[in-house]
Symmetry: C2
Subunit: 318 residues, 2 copies
Amino acid sequence: MKEVAIGIDIGGTYSKLGIVDRDGNCLTESSISTRDHKEFDNFLESIFKEIEHIKSPLKDLIDVKGIGIGAPNANYFSGNIEDAPNLNWKGVVPIVKKFKKHYNLPTYLTNDANAAAIGEKIYGAAKDFDDFIVITLGTGLGSGFYANGSLIYGFNGFAGELGHIIVERKGRMGTAGLRGTLESYVSATGMKRTIFQLMADSLEESPLREIPYIHMTSKKIYEAAMKGDKLALEAFELTGRYLGEALAIAVSHTNPKAIFLFGGLAKAGDLIINPTRKYMEKNLLEIYKNKVDILLSGLSDTNAAVLGSSALVWSEGN
Amino acid sequence: MKEVAIGIDIGGTYSKLGIVDRDGNCLTESSISTRDHKEFDNFLESIFKEIEHIKSPLKDLIDVKGIGIGAPNANYFSGNIEDAPNLNWKGVVPIVKKFKKHYNLPTYLTNDANAAAIGEKIYGAAKDFDDFIVITLGTGLGSGFYANGSLIYGFNGFAGELGHIIVERKGRMGTAGLRGTLESYVSATGMKRTIFQLMADSLEESPLREIPYIHMTSKKIYEAAMKGDKLALEAFELTGRYLGEALAIAVSHTNPKAIFLFGGLAKAGDLIINPTRKYMEKNLLEIYKNKVDILLSGLSDTNAAVLGSSALVWSEGN
């Protein structure tokens, strides 16, 4: 019998799930729609059914040690999802309690960025690191901090909200009502806003001028940049500057050995890493210079979110 | 026999030492000049002599469990003071090794802001807190972070250098060659620079205009503010704004229960705490609002630095 954990990643559109062994091998994977379940109880019913569905061919081979769940606005301490703006289920959703009642298995909840950090520690490139940061670059910007070998949860379970620090006074309006937040510049959405700002500021020609706002994506900006489009390259430079300056601040807080970039935007590789590193180094105190690596996540891309969630089970000592 | 720790706080001008019990009672205290000892070995000789001097009347009553040392540019991991700009002793000073050789007692070294945080945890107002921050406001600005009940040291032992984060692009030159650092605004020196900036910007009359730069102190600004001097009050408002904005960023990193202000400037009480709290709250994400206390240090002022250093001995499990 192989010891495994069930990992579940709840996103605004889809929820992914998988069965993962201690070495980070994902034995089987699936997904269900999140958005189509207006009621949380219906969602639960569907996800329980899907878990049984993927478990059943393996049932004589595996010993399930626990369940790890990553979700937006997740609170590790309470086990609740609280007022998640991107989910249908309003108010406080006691997801851990419901899972424990159904399965009688150790069940843990954390937000997606913390899950990514735990995944990096348990299966990924941070196995031997006690002090590191994971930055998730998706629709928004999330972060998870390890210090002294442990994830920092904070007093209310809300540590690591780097996406909402203010990096530009009187800057862009952010999703949570604060202006000039890091996330409003450094994320897929932020890049899209940046390319429109640059098109307004400059007279430089670009094929991106043919794309309306609602159809612009960071992938299209990436593809233009790879073809040498000046505006697209400038958008990556600006995004890297904001991220690098913010990481210099983060380094002054916890002095990590490395910072891992995770998620869609990170796939741009050197286009995002090079300016990020340049501006981080420029803003670092001498004692930190050339000592902090900026790396890509060591988790395989296709099921990274499920891996991260499943890792919670092992990190809790099961 | 009472179990005690020896606490030593090495400053640029003086070094203070004391004998402290587990409850934080300082049984005896003394100090020697740091600056007059051009050579580190002479300093050692003097401090060993002074330790014997204060120990001798208590020698039948106490059992010394260890020695804790707080110093600028101290590295907890190496036990060395490294390239401290404000000390006579250049390069790498292996202070822990020298103490262990002389006394054969557990000996620990950390920087003064970390020592203040450990003191707050062991004897002060943070006894029951696992997640908090201490900000030391002296000539410069230091910080110590607790998360999950442990001090964050970081990979190289240099976590918590909040004084050197950049809060104003193209701002004032800071001591470490970076422009616009928090410390260049929020510290005794920073306030002095601020009052001169305000005197240049404004035509408001003030008795502070009679004082030359070299004789200006944050205490004189405090006294003027207490008499209602508009420029002095504006200096506190501006200082509190920079500190509050920076603390909003710090909260987004580690989500502390409380932030303690420690040191000379903190004595200004509400004059500094009120604007700091106002601007911190204004810049916090909703989930943190009205949840983080800004408090004055619970360590007695006269020997707080010695208490902090001695607390290292207990926090290491002796």
